[in-house]
Amino acid sequence: MLNQIVEKKKLAYGVHLFWIENPIISQKAKPGQFVIFRVHEHGERIPLTISGTDKDKFRVIVRAVGKSTYELCKLSKGEYIKDVVGPLGTPSEIKKYGKVLIIGGGVGIAAIAPIAKELIKQGNKVDVILGARSKEYIILENEFKEATNIFIVTDDGSKGEKAFPHQLMEKLLQKNKYDVAWAIGPALMMKSCSEIAKKYNLKIFVSLNSIMVDGTGMCGGCRVRIKDELKYTCVDGPEFDGRDVNWKSFLTRLSQYREEEKIAFENYLKKVGEPTWL
């Protein structure tokens, strides 16, 4: 049935994988695109990257960070998402580049998985850096088996090297030459990686997680400054060359609703108690 959760799995504390039935989206989605969910009638619209498709269903991987994502993660197999819109956004620019460096941080690993897969299919040599806080959060590792090299870094050193992704990135760039890079993960990680890319004169795609409403270019809420131009993340992006992004204003805009988000979250926890399902 349309928008039914046909499979759900907890990957780590607060990180949940969903397979949602929706043939239209699964047949149309390309790497780099996203969907917008509205979990229930009173819900807000939350964008999530499409992390894979299989026949009539598509996959998203969600990190619970506030009210809407907590609620989403509380749903079980068999339940439905009220509204699912997609696929949205411009697909990743995938073609034969030669040698590609791909960096996924935290739940951003979910977004790079289909991109890496497609790049490899197109005959690129792909090196992958997976980064996370600690070893539990290195997700989907076995989906990168076909990569030429796979490097793992964690903030606490519980797996792979104890480093931040951009630090390892710089190390690799000192030794190797890449034709293009992708970095998807927390905004600060993407910013740091973009700074390194700039230093080494490397084109780098980042996927911006701007606050969105419609996702169709109708509200302008997701606007970012790319070089001197205002662009709408939902239709012009979400991927942009990280070297051109005005990171300062992008980061500021992510904090627009801090106070309201806190209220919503606290009210929610008061209502449901301990979030044991996470």
């Binding site: 009210k67 997609g86 409403v213 169709t216 270019g217 302008g220 239709v235 627009q256 309201e260």
Partner: protein, 458 residues
């Protein structure tokens, strides 16, 4: 003989209405409606009709009111206009039907909009349904893209002609601007819902959450359907693009209104979508959208100023909305142009740098051109700014529609009946004309339906 005054509608008390989002004007009771209807001169050559974009038989429907035959009156209205409850409320009557009424010279034109609204509401309260006559069923299928007034009207006409109609809408609710743009206090959403329910009764299929161009490609529709109507609206907001446009606290009216109307942010946290209300809100622009944003912000508790670069006379908003806005306590800062947003150390808007303007020679459109006055810069304190300066054509669908010719402004090129450069594909509403009005969008939907019928039958 002195012309009697217009009968005033019942309007909710100021103090009460500014606290909620319920409808401001309650319209006429039937006694008031009959009294107003009696003022109509039943002109032999009714100039009012020429002012109505869909040519409603205005003296005809008014005469039935005088005689108390509301049902007949409704029948007449419905023959010309499938959404009389909407148009009676939101049409810019002063430049259309009422502006062309013979009594307009006296300053007391017949309140045609209020009468139209009265009849439509009466019909709905008394559960009077238009007798649906479906001409003859055919197996030809039509796809309508977008469920705004243009698409809804087109679908309703085609369904009545007996075609099978599927509407695809990107949002989670049908209605277009009627749902996400125009606030509840001006157009209750229950009215839109009623019209949509009527469409469903006609057998029209509405599929929501479908961004055509992404979820379905135009080619697929062209292959699967015998004809297509595009009514995707104008849709993409313009920004002045002055320094500081990315600051927190700067909105487009589309975003601000969508959060409030469609997502019900005015009921946050009962509904999850937040909106910043702020203490001092500045709305930039002089159209209906500006008034709607200003009055919404005001209802959420802010002090609101409208900043407009020309004078009040040039404001494109409906007169009634300007009047209500002022009455409710919204300040007007006219002949003023913002030139920069100023933020605090946290990236939040704190003031708007403006320059004073004067009116110069009329431009090609006949409106006097605003010119900046040298050395007149000043600051307006504001924590929220809402830009309502118009929209551009939304490329969501158009960028994917191969072979569809656009005009130099990026809107769809059509002939006068709405046929595009692809014979099977028709279009109407804001995506053809640029931002216009509900009645024009409906008129375009209807006209195209007629042509589509011809097209489908040959």
């Amino acid at each position: 003989m002195a012309v009697k005054d217009r009968i005033k509608p019942i309007v909710r008390e100021l103090n009460e209405r500014i606290k909620d989002f319920n409808e401001v004007s309650l319209g006429y009771t039937w006694e008031l409606a009959v009294e107003e209807a009696k003022r109509c001169l039943q002109c032999k050559i009714p100039t009012c009709v020429q002012g109505c974009p869909v040519g409603i038989d205005i003296p005809g429907f008014i005469k039935e009111i005088v005689q108390g035959n509301f049902q007949n009156s409704y029948k007449i209205l419905k023959k010309y206009n499938s959404l009389p409850a909407v148009c009676g409320r939101v049409c810019p009557q002063e430049i259309q039907c009422e502006g062309s009424c013979i009594l307009n010279k006296t300053g007391k034109p017949i309140a045609i909009g209020l009468l139209e609204r009265f009849v439509a509401d009466w019909a709905s309260e008394n559960a009077i349904e238009e007798k649906i006559t479906i001409e003859k069923t055919t197996n030809k299928k039509v796809a309508v893209i977008g469920a705004g007034p243009a698409g809804l009207t087109n679908a309703s006409e085609l369904a009545k002609y007996g075609f099978k109609v599927d509407i695809y809408e990107a949002f989670s609710e049908p209605g277009g601007v009627l749902i996400y743009g125009i606030p509840e206090f001006r157009l209750p959403k229950s009215i839109v819902k009623r019209e949509v329910d009527f469409l469903k009764k006609l057998g029209v299929n509405i599929t929501l959450d479908i961004p055509v161009g992404y979820a379905i490609e135009p080619e697929e529709l062209i292959e699967k359907y015998d004809a297509i109507f595009i009514g995707v609206g104008a849709g993409t907001p313009k920004f002045m693009n002055i320094a500081g446009t990315e600051l927190n606290g700067v909105y487009s009216a589309n975003e601000f209104l969508t959060r409030i109307n469609l997502m019900k942010a005015f009921k946050f946290p009962e509904y999850d979508t937040p909106v910043k209300i702020g203490k001092k809100v500045v709305v930039i622009g002089g159209g209906n959208t500006a008034m709607d944003a200003a009055r919404s912000a005001f209802r959420l508790g802010a002090e609101v100023t409208i900043v407009y670069r020309r004078s009040e006379k040039e404001m494109p908003a409906r007169k009634a909305e300007i009047h209500h806005s002022k009455e409710e306590g919204i300040k007007f800062q006219l002949l003023t142009q913002p030139i920069e947003y100023v933020g605090d150390e946290n990236g939040k808007l704190k003031a708007i740098k403006c320059v004073k303007m004067k009116l110069g020679e009329p431009d090609t459109g006949g409106r006097r051109r605003p010119l900046p006055i040298e050395n007149s810069e000043f600051f307006i304190e504001a924590d929220i700014a809402i830009e309502a300066i118009g929209t551009n054509s939304n490329k969501l669908l158009l960028s994917k529609f191969k072979g569809l010719e656009l005009n130099k402004w990026g809107y769809i090129k059509t002939d006068e009946f709405g046929q595009t450069s692809i014979p099977k594909v028709f279009a109407g509403g804001d995506i053809v004309t640029g931002s216009a009005t509900v009645i024009l969008a409906m008129g375009a939907g209807k006209k195209a339906a007629k042509k589509m019928k011809e097209f489908l039958e040959t």
